[in-house]
Symmetry: D5
Subunit: 91 residues, 10 copies
């Protein structure tokens, strides 16, 4: 079941640089793990913004919330979720 997810990142400018670096490293590992499991099949950068547009493939809304809530960058993000379904014209 697919969901379109837009994530806008706004890390405070005065965040401790070590904490920042460590959080970004954890975010990357967390994201790549989910990508490898097939739960996060698409992630693109929005040009000119600290944002991504992603597609998640999950069993339930509950699982999706769990995945998003545990993103290391979650406290610094604004997230918008749009449910998707197959398009009748898709080949």
């Amino acid at each position: 079941m697919l969901f379109h997810v837009k994530m806008d990142v706004a890390i405070p400018l005065d965040l401790d640089p070590d904490l920042r670096a460590e959080t970004l490293a954890r975010e990357k590992a967390y994201s790549q793990d989910l990508q490898r499991q097939g739960k996060w099949p698409h992630i693109w950068r929005v040009v000119g913004q600290y944002s991504n547009i992603s597609v998640f493939d999950v069993e339930s809304t509950d699982e999706l919330h769990e995945l998003l809530w545990n993103l290391p960058l979650f406290p610094y993000m604004t997230i918008e979720v749009t449910p998707l379904c197959p398009h009748p014209s898709a080949v």
Copy 2:
């Protein structure tokens, strides 16, 4: 080069039914032809709306405009284009 495209469809309620059916058939054929060429790699229906979220893969902004402008449903659509690029965490 990838672009995120959101299309919201608003066909007038009083459009001639035959014209409507014929336009929808042309739209489907047009879309499927571009999907098979690899130019329109993703198309999803937004749940509960007469809208789709798509990703296009084109050589240039000029080509993208050409493809969108010639959509049979173009006169009835509101289209929003967001340029994408690879995400540094993508596997």
Copy 3:
């Protein structure tokens, strides 16, 4: 799996009265059938508006879209879907 659905109805003022009455009757029957099946567990009127706020309980986003797309009033509605999940403080 629960989804929050807001439906705003805007039937054209000049719609044929018989078609209007017949569509409203079909909408009511359709809705009540889904409520009895347990797929549409909550429906409330928004005070002062021709709108409802509903909760749907479905197996998938695909099923939800199917249910909404086939609403007899769908052509006259603006629908907004928000995915829900259990709240950790719910008793």
Copy 4:
């Protein structure tokens, strides 16, 4: 009498961790007490957001304001209230 309430939580990132934990514990107890009394019959998490959508069942707008104003997280919340009433198609 039912009211739809959307609560968006934005706890400052630099809030003292003990105060944060203690406030969250009080919020949970406060919410569960009202749920058990039947005054807060529904509470759902919005997927991907630190927000909930709730339904309150109260005697008056005055009682509703009293309940919301005394939420331990009230100073950190944006709250939007929508009055509801029975829907004519509800079974």
Copy 5:
């Protein structure tokens, strides 16, 4: 129990003049009847707009919806309802 109600009127320019006049007369009678009953204690015109700001005093949200839904101008109005309660500084 008080509710703040904003009503914006948009009567179609091509509405039959007799129907228009008759609807406006019914609206005025309906409004004045509710004012005399004490259910619609305040109604003001917004300067420069075909809009009013009103306060209703009702027993329930259900009664309020009933009153608004039966306004003769309801099909031509956009209505926004805000629940009120006594202010702690009111004398």
Copy 6:
């Protein structure tokens, strides 16, 4: 001459508690003095928000600005003013 005034209060979370208490006490006294003079005939709390909706009765826009500008909470408020006039259907 009547004006509709919406005031949204946002006192900084880290304001000195004594200054906060003293400012709120001055605000209450200031408001009640104007209410007793008949210049501030209505003040209601918006349910679930640190906001009020008020009606002022003044001689001029100049007097209204003077009254609002000197509110002890003015530095922490967002204020929106809408001019009113008698409604032709008012009894």
Copy 7:
């Protein structure tokens, strides 16, 4: 007493040309009469739009509403009124 008034004009494209011309002529005469009386001291065209920004000088909100409500173009306009007062830095 001064009020800032923004008027956006949207005459239907299919309005009868004679009615259109006659209404525009009446609007011009009405406006110039008020300008000569000193009640409408400023009127400017917004560049690139069928809109004006004006300043009215009236005795009351009631008088202002009367003037605006009787504009021949009123049925085709969206009007926004902002109350003004003298600025402390004005020379």
Copy 8:
């Protein structure tokens, strides 16, 4: 003196085809004449929209309004004008 101008075109779907074609031809000739005079130095199509983003180079706001008001498509356009000036980092 430069102005940034965004033009969104919305020709009614039921406009007479001959009038439409004739208006578009006049628009093109009008635009190209101004481009050749150096008054309309830039015009770009916005990808996926019936819109353009342009830069005008004029002597005054009065001249700019004259040029825009006389666009053959003016009755079908929404126009937004933003004044520009040289950037201190421009080479």
Copy 9:
């Protein structure tokens, strides 16, 4: 050449009081000097807001930007500029 300028002021609550007073004094002197030169012919306070609506009369957009950029309060302001031109109905 006239421009409509809206300035919203938001001085940080914790700005050093001396710096605040000194900046406000410089702003007043700067504004009054431009008013006396005829470059800033109108300045009004918006009722209930720390905002002004002004009209500037300048030779060019470049001159206008220079005047606004050098306002002592510029770093604390949000400014919106709308180009004006003579209205055909102005007397």
Copy 10:
């Protein structure tokens, strides 16, 4: 391939003055280098705002993101990108 880019700058008021000066100097050098390479053919100041409107000429969305992400002022900017293409009426 052309992209329209709007950049709004909001440097924190309490940024260290030396860091501020040094960042602005690097931004200017960076911008002028790209201008000289032909990748940033237009940059204009928006009158009355700490914003610019620019046009970039790049090979790909990927290159554009790279250029924008590395702007020394990127952490203090809000950036909006709109893809452009040749206009059929351009001479």
